[in-house]
Symmetry: C2
Subunit: 242 residues, 2 copies
DNA sequence: CGAACTTTTGACAAGCATCAACACGTGTGG
DNA sequence: CCACACGTGTTGATGCTTGTCAAAAGTTCG
């Protein structure tokens, strides 16, 4: 368990998005014991049903969280990017309820649950920041329910693009108008509850109308206002303000 | 702020579902300062955009949490019943992202966030129990995403019936085969992403096949195995084991 | 008893899934 | 260097599924 002092800064940045931490709090976060894992695209970080004595924090790259639903395939229930705390569930509770799989190659910090618990006992401000982070994550899940349950295909696709862009911008990964989208059209379909063909049609129509441009896995948002309108996107649910 | 010693036991029962608490922990939970509010059916407990210095705990009755989605109506994103902690979001973060509205008349305890924070600093076991509860709630949101995104109408309706039954049973409200369903077919439709007509057809077909019976707002599950199969229900996501 | 709400049923149209075929880029091996 | 396979994106045709509309029957409550 080597301690690489600087590698946890994405976690700290995430916590400071929504909470104010003092110097000792910050130092304690960065001093958390951890191992840095290199995960290849497609590899699993967490598997449903398994338990782990550690939490994981995304340091770089993208991952998706999914569930397998009977014989009806896969539903992606969330996307993780830099700074995200993934799956305390399988360590605080008895087993993971979903799978987390790398979309790109990632660097992931593995932190013993014990250390996180000790930290939150010693440093209430950090505990509260983690609480705020968890509540914000819940809010994202709720928005996804609304997205899948009530929006039409174009709206769903536009909405997930807005979310990816806003979250990447908040994590300082990108400029607001640029958005990494490391999911193919089948992945996007599994995330928004659509057949891949209709993801294609939605993306194509957004492109033809000049709202977005595509360059491989990157998306350029040429008309943010229009994309927000089509996706009925209200960033409040991301709780990005402190 | 009157302190009614015994009225918080549903909260304690909820926390002890997934965590082991000692005597002093239990006493501290029950001693939380609170006010008991009587809420009429249809009244709002939390409104989107508002902030509150208090958390709320359901003591009795049912409530739903919903979001309004553009001009496409309402999406119910969750149901709250006895023992549920509702909306720390609007007190830990800056504003509520969704509305919580009573389905039946309810009794709700209003607890100052300050008191909850102090409790979790003083009693790490309680803090961890609340953490476990929040993680389990997240897991439910994920399952709802999968339910709406990937199951057919019969499956969606069967699944929500299974969940309501299992959660009520865990809260010791009902026998496993009986289930209070204080939502009309329009509500159920808004919860599972279906038009109300098809909720009706799904319920009717389940009844005709002898899987369920309906008696007003109560549902009798005559063939649990069949309902579980149709709804592809795996109770693990509720994390009801300790 | 009547009014308002909810459930039920039917008819119809629209939307989305499915299937199929082709295009395009990339990497691999002959 | 070309041929090929593979993954991904694109497009069209078709039909089931689900939403919409409408009206009647049942229920609850004043």
């Amino acid at each position: 368990m080597e301690s690489q002092i600087s590698s946890l800064w994405p976690l700290l940045a995430k916590l400071e998005l929504r909470s104010r931490l003092g110097g000792p709090d910050r130092a304690a976060v960065l001093a958390l014991p951890h191992m840095v894992l290199a995960i290849g695209a497609g590899e699993y970080i967490v598997r449903e049903g398994e338990q782990s004595p550690s939490c994981y924090v995304m340091l770089s790259g993208f991952a998706q969280r999914h569930k397998l639903v009977g014989d009806r395939g896969r539903q992606i229930v969330g996307v993780h990017l830099e700074g995200d705390i993934i799956d305390c569930t399988s360590s605080v509770l008895e087993a993971a309820d979903s799978n987390v799989q790398a979309l790109t190659s990632c660097r992931v910090a593995e932190i013993p649950l014990e250390a996180l618990i000790n930290l939150s006992v010693d440093r209430p401000a950090v505990a509260r920041a983690m609480w705020a982070d968890a509540l914000a994550e819940m809010s994202v899940f709720r928005e996804w329910i609304a997205n899948i349950g009530r929006r039409d295909p174009r709206g769903r696709v536009a909405h997930i693009l807005c979310e990816m862009s806003a979250r990447q911008h908040a994590a300082n990964v990108r400029q607001p108008q640029f958005c990494r989208m490391p999911m193919n059209q089948e992945d996007i379909g599994d995330a928004v509850g659509l057949a891949p063909v209709h993801v294609n049609r939605a993306l194509k129509s957004l492109e033809l109308e000049g709202v977005i441009s595509r360059e491989g896995q990157d998306i350029v948002i040429d008309d943010w206002e229009a994309l927000v309108r089509i996706g009925d996107f209200n960033p409040d649910y991301l709780h990005l303000a402190a």
